[in-house]
Symmetry: C2
């Protein structure tokens, strides 16, 4: 019998190896340095411990000769409501922050942030503080705000010329029963006169309108459609604060600060170019797209220069903009924006990186709706020798064969370099093969997908299937200012604790891969990879030193 | 430009065809009769209409030349809480029953029920009524039941010898403050003396302990681990009522009646053989496994004979038993059961069909734990020329690389003919290929998976990926007595409304496929397929006549 068992176990090992052979981490796992091997084992051990102690799950290890990771979950006790590793992010956030695994991930060099929407990349508190530095930012409401309606009214901000402020200072505030509906009130006045009877104050009211809270995601808005309504409303509040030249300058810098604080050293940021202008510094004039891209480029250069002056140049390699418009435009309108994008690319070749369409895929136009102008754009770029690829959102859906799911066909056929989300990709055998063959990277945003109710928790997310099928992946935060997942550490955490196959090396491979899929020139990319490799080596030494005392 | 667009659309069509070429319904869709084509279109039209009217979703159709099903969801209004097609089953059940789609599915010939656990196949109300026909069934409680504790106490039933009843009739009932904890009280006494102050009555209390309600599945027990605790407790209550020879006889017949009522004409039923006996008719003696299989076989034959006498022989082809034990046994204990199973197979070659292990995969032993006896069993069967295959549960988990997920490797390497659930199969490229190549059918149980919290709703279920990857699938109800999904119609419904690729023909292909994967001899299977084909033709005519007046 024992020879039969041995031969069975040999076949089993072979099958598992074949089954996982497409994974991006396999090559790395065959070539670990002794320190990397030690760090990998350490992190698996801490993860197991914290699954038990923090998330109240016990991992039983069934000893099987030559077969690793053969483990069983079972529940132990309760501290959180419904605890398990990879559980609902907004409920678990504070608990996640308390773990050693999170602290280990936080320090990791993350490579590139490839999927984030500028308007939602900065913490809500930070954004509000930036806005408060500008007393000419005003707020209005469709009616006087009181305890009965405050939960349903969204703050409507706009910067006004300083000259108008004096008069507005004299009007009754938005919370006064004498408030004149629809009139602007200076933000500081509204804030100072916010009555104590209205709960936790003006700031709390504003921030609640910018971020999604657990009750909304898991209670009142618990479907993909409902939570998108809340999500879209957040953007409308943010825009009033941020679409103002001086705030934007500081906001972009705050984004870069949050990047380096989290170990992200390069970013490609999607910005919504649908509005043709933002408000100029004087509160009256308008600043156009070209001026705006110039601001972005200036802030990148200033930020890099400041870091270099401090001897920290390696922390930040730079950032580029991805031109996006909302997929509600008419075909004719889109043509204007595609021309605009091409002009900007010529003017800012190193800052403008790609083109994309955004907005709720399942409510707005599919890619095929814009087929002709998109094909035309590709041809024009080719003819003019301009390297301005598509980076389409596609498949951010639970649908099977609906328009959003079918966007994946068009994204790939239109030659997208990466795919935003690709949540439904695992349903498509031919498309997974094309992603592997053409090295099309999927920008997967775990926390975003969970809060937007595509998945109820991380263990139910298709990422594990994507990795096992060898689909190129980079992890990203999407809209961290709204989802409260600033940096990429929270997303990395959810991925690490929800799989027994993935480990620290997997995260390392994904981080490095994010650089490989960045839209950088060959030389620039090689330089960034070299820096990352050094950072990684130091990082492994550092966590071993810290956690194996 | 138009030639570029045309060539694009041709490539697109080709890619979609390639991407869906592995689906089991492709051959059928190329060879529809005119009536089938009409029925397919009709059902898609009703589904679209009901998505809007019943589930408050609007389907927008984007017209694309030569591309079908290019549709978009968006929300319209609210009647249910969080409504969408494929939403939480227990919340939507009554709504589902009100739809035309459900009525159409209900009448469909479903083929074989390949995955259901005997102890949980009959409606709780029906079971309780069967038990109430036997006054010697008694109930006990660890303490007197009152309003404060009734939600936490499980009814503990057992049949007793009639001779003991008189004395027990005189004792205070379980709801009396004089109740002597742990003593048995006749069921009718407990029922008659149930005080009005304890809510909806004795029957309601018992049924609540047998079925999972929406509050439990989606509120208090909303994790895979917690809901399993409730699920397991349901079985303990059921067992006290059903593990009694005369009840079991009627219970098995009730199961078959529910099968034909739902268009299921053949069943392979898993039974838990871990307990070595059930209680005999006199309430004192014990009936062993062999006697029990004899009862099952008798009921099958009686039921068939009765139907044949009524000229309805085609409605029911028969049923077989799958021998299952709980995967908590020691290796030594398992050997006893494997021997027992083999002996029973020799005695009842046409009724005993296969062997399986059951119980929460993530808390109990993985298949590899029993490797030696399972390999030994296969060898013995082969040596003795006995056809007694494995039909293992495997991969009923959200885990990635844990023991439960790895059960898939062992199920396949041990030669399983079908896989129970295979929920995590889509994570495994090599295993999906093996399932295709070896024609291993996955018994997918959509409602079960959703209630047991592996998926939050049907659109998030991996079934769509399994179908697109060409994995052989049969749909089943698992534990309909506990999940309230009697028949397979509810499961078929959830599948149909959660995909734009699948249609009525897909369900027909899955139903026919369930017969092809049944453990029937070649002749018997051919006969059943022939009957199904006739029923299908009649069915198509019938629904067209009924819905196109």
């Amino acid at each position: 019998m024992s020879s039969i068992v041995d031969s069975y176990l040999a076949k089993r090992k072979e099958l598992i190896e074949e089954d996982t052979s497409l994974r991006a981490d396999r090559a790395k796992l065959r070539n670990l340095t002794p320190l990397e091997a030690k760090a990998e084992a350490l992190v698996r051990q801490i993860r197991k411990h914290e699954a038990e102690e923090v998330f109240s799950f016990t991992l039983f290890l069934h000893e099987v000769p030559d077969v690793a990771s053969n483990q069983i979950w079972s529940q132990k006790n309760e501290s959180l409501e419904h605890p398990f590793p990879g559980m609902a992010f907004l409920t678990a956030k504070k608990t996640i922050e308390s773990t050693r695994i999170f602290k280990i991930i936080k320090k990791m060099p993350k490579g590139a942030l490839l999927h984030a929407h500028l308007e939602a990349t900065v913490d809500a508190r930070v954004l509000l503080d930036l806005a408060l530095e500008h007393p000419n930012i005003c707020i209005r409401s469709p009616c006087a705000i009181d305890a009965s309606n405050m939960g349903n009214i969204l703050p409507d901000f706009a910067p006004l010329p300083l000259a108008q402020l004096k008069e507005l200072e004299a009007s009754p505030s938005i919370t006064s029963s004498y408030y004149n509906p629809g009139t602007y009130i200076p933000i500081h006045k509204a804030r100072n006169e916010w009555p104590a009877s209205l709960g936790n104050g003006f700031d709390d009211w504003v921030i609640r309108a910018i971020v999604i809270n657990p009750t909304e995601a898991y209670g009142t808005h618990n479907t993909t459609v409902k939570i998108w309504d809340k999500f879209v409303s957040c953007f409308s509040v943010i825009r009033g604060l941020v679409a103002y030249e001086p705030v934007y300058r500081k906001y972009i810098r705050a984004l870069f600060e949050s990047c380096i604080e989290d170990g992200v050293s390069y970013a490609e940021i999607r910005m919504n170019f649908t509005p043709k202008t933002i408000v100029a510094a004087d509160g009256a004039g308008a600043v156009d797209h070209s001026y705006f891209v110039g601001i972005f480029q200036d802030v990148v250069q200033e930020f890099k220069a400041d870091l270099t002056a401090q001897g920290k140049g390696n922390l930040f390699h730079g950032a580029k903009l991805i031109y996006t418009v909302i997929r509600i435009l008419s075909v004719e309108e889109l043509k204007w924006y595609l021309d605009d994008c091409l002009e900007l690319k010529k003017k800012f070749p190193d800052t403008l990186a790609a083109f994309d369409l955004v907005g709720p895929e399942d409510k707005m136009n599919p890619l095929i709706y814009y087929l002709e102008p998109l094909l035309e754009f590709s041809r024009t770029c080719e003819e003019q020798g301009v390297d301005l690829p598509f980076l389409f959102h596609a498949g951010e859906t639970l649908g099977d064969g609906d328009s959003v799911d079918q966007n994946l066909y068009d994204a790939i056929l239109l030659g997208t370099k990466r795919i935003g989300h690709a949540f439904s990709l695992v349903k498509h055998p031919a498309l997974m093969r094309l992603c592997r063959e053409r090295n099309i990277c999927c920008e997967v945003c775990p926390v975003s997908n969970e809060i937007l109710r595509l998945t109820s928790s991380m263990p139910a997310h298709p990422l594990a299937a994507m990795l096992n099928h060898g689909v190129p992946v980079a992890l990203a935060s999407d809209d961290p200012g709204i989802f409260s997942n600033i940096g990429i550490s929270y997303d990395f955490f959810q991925v690490l604790v929800a799989s027994e196959i993935s480990g620290l090396m997997t995260l390392g491979v994904l981080a490095r891969q994010s650089i490989e899929h960045a839209l950088l020139g060959a030389e620039s990319k090689a330089e960034l990879l070299k820096v990352w490799d050094c950072q990684w080596t130091e990082y492994i030494e550092e966590i071993l030193a810290e956690h194996t005392k």
